[in-house]
């Protein structure tokens, strides 16, 4: 600090006044102390703050490279699984509230020759598919009702000859189907209406199963 003798007289006067202790009245001193106390209380964490202080306090986490890799892979896996589940629900959810009713009356039906409507009083009908194929070694029926899975509904040869049958529970609505003979020959039902050209080179047949409103 420079000596006051070397300062400008005006500055020296100001410095001298500033060095003198401030005198406050008792009332002013009390107000200041109250304000300071209130400010301190506001900044101090209360009960909830203390409870989560551990979580809110920044801290360093140490992970080995292998550990961090495993953690990242785990998080990716969890996200993948959630995405798959969500996507499956979106894509595979049934279109409506129609459900297969266990124990529903099994009304007789068959692939009809011209009238492609199978009646049912419930949400599902037992539909009997019939195909005469004496030379066939294996016949299955595939359609939208079994997700076009050739192994879902194999047909059985009747004891009397070359007639193949299978009974399938079907929901009410329009169904497209086809027969697969010997695992490779796709053919529509000759006794049912044809579906429009499916774009895959093999026509399908159409079957209507009426709902309970009929």
């Amino acid at each position: 600090m420079p000596d006051d003798d070397k300062l400008d007289p005006t500055v020296a006067t100001i410095a001298m006044l500033a060095r003198q202790p401030a005198t406050l009245s008792a009332e002013a001193r009390a107000r200041i102390m109250l304000a300071v106390q209130a400010e301190t209380l506001r900044g101090r964490p209360g009960r909830p703050g203390r409870r989560f202080a551990w979580f809110l306090e920044p801290r360093a986490v140490r992970l080995s490279p292998l550990g961090s890799l495993a953690l990242a892979a785990g998080l990716v896996g969890v996200g993948l699984a959630m995405g798959l589940v969500s996507r499956a629900r979106t894509l595979l959810a049934p279109a409506g509230d129609v459900t297969m009713t266990a124990g529903a009356p099994a009304l007789p039906g068959t692939t009809p020759a011209g009238v492609p409507v199978v009646p049912t009083g419930a949400t599902a009908a037992q539909v009997k598919f019939v195909l005469v194929a004496p030379q066939a070694r294996q016949v299955t029926v595939v359609g939208d009702f079994n997700r076009w899975n050739p192994s879902a509904h194999p047909m059985e040869r009747t004891p009397t000859g070359g007639t193949w049958t299978v009974t399938v529970p079907l929901e009410a609505g329009r169904h497209e189907y086809s027969f697969v003979v010997d695992g490779q020959h796709w053919m529509p039902d000759p006794a049912a209406p044809l579906a429009p050209d499916d774009g895959f080179g093999v026509a399908n047949s159409v079957l209507l199963v009426s709902g309970s409103e009929s």
Binding site: G77, P116, R174, D197, G199, F200
Partner: protein, 225 residues
Amino acid sequence: MIGTPSARLGRLAAVALLLVLPATAASQQQSPLSRLDAMSRYQIENFMDSAARIGIPPEALLSKTLEGISKGAPGSRIVQVVRKQFAALREARSTLGPETSIDELNAAAGALQSGVPRSSLATLSSTRKGNSLLMPLVVLSDLVSRGVPPDDASSAIINMSRRGALDSDFAGLRRGVETDILSGASPATALDRRSREFPGRGAPGTRNPVVPSPTRPPETPSSIK
């Protein structure tokens, strides 16, 4: 990492569990489209997402995809077919309205794809007065598939509908035309002859949903021709 050996083992087990659980879930939720190549699958999923966004049940597209897979079609062909199907479904819905059932939409989409004019669908819908379009559409598509010109088939079906045809009348028309074609008649001639046989039932007024057969349909086996 810090901690006792047992704590480290616990952490390792937790990480392993995190890795194993998603793999198990993924195997259980394996997509039915997994047999498609990645690019085709991506495109099909896009179509289905788009369909869902505009209110068309994506199950129709999924079923068509699975059909293609089952029939051994290449992925590019399946994508092409599903794209056309999606376009036809959109066109059918814009023609018939948002309240149309998915079965009717599928049938209408098929009719459009087989060459039936869109205007014919709209006209047919107006003649049904709230009755189900399912049977007329199924018969219409069947007739076209058997070689009847789309315009002729549409006109015949619309005329029958205007004269109050029931579902059983449409089914009878289909059966008669098929019989005549098998007997050697040309598809157009067979349709002309059979459609003239329908006497008419008056204007349709009451609701006529899919009418079941009054009795059990005869068990008439199909046969390989």
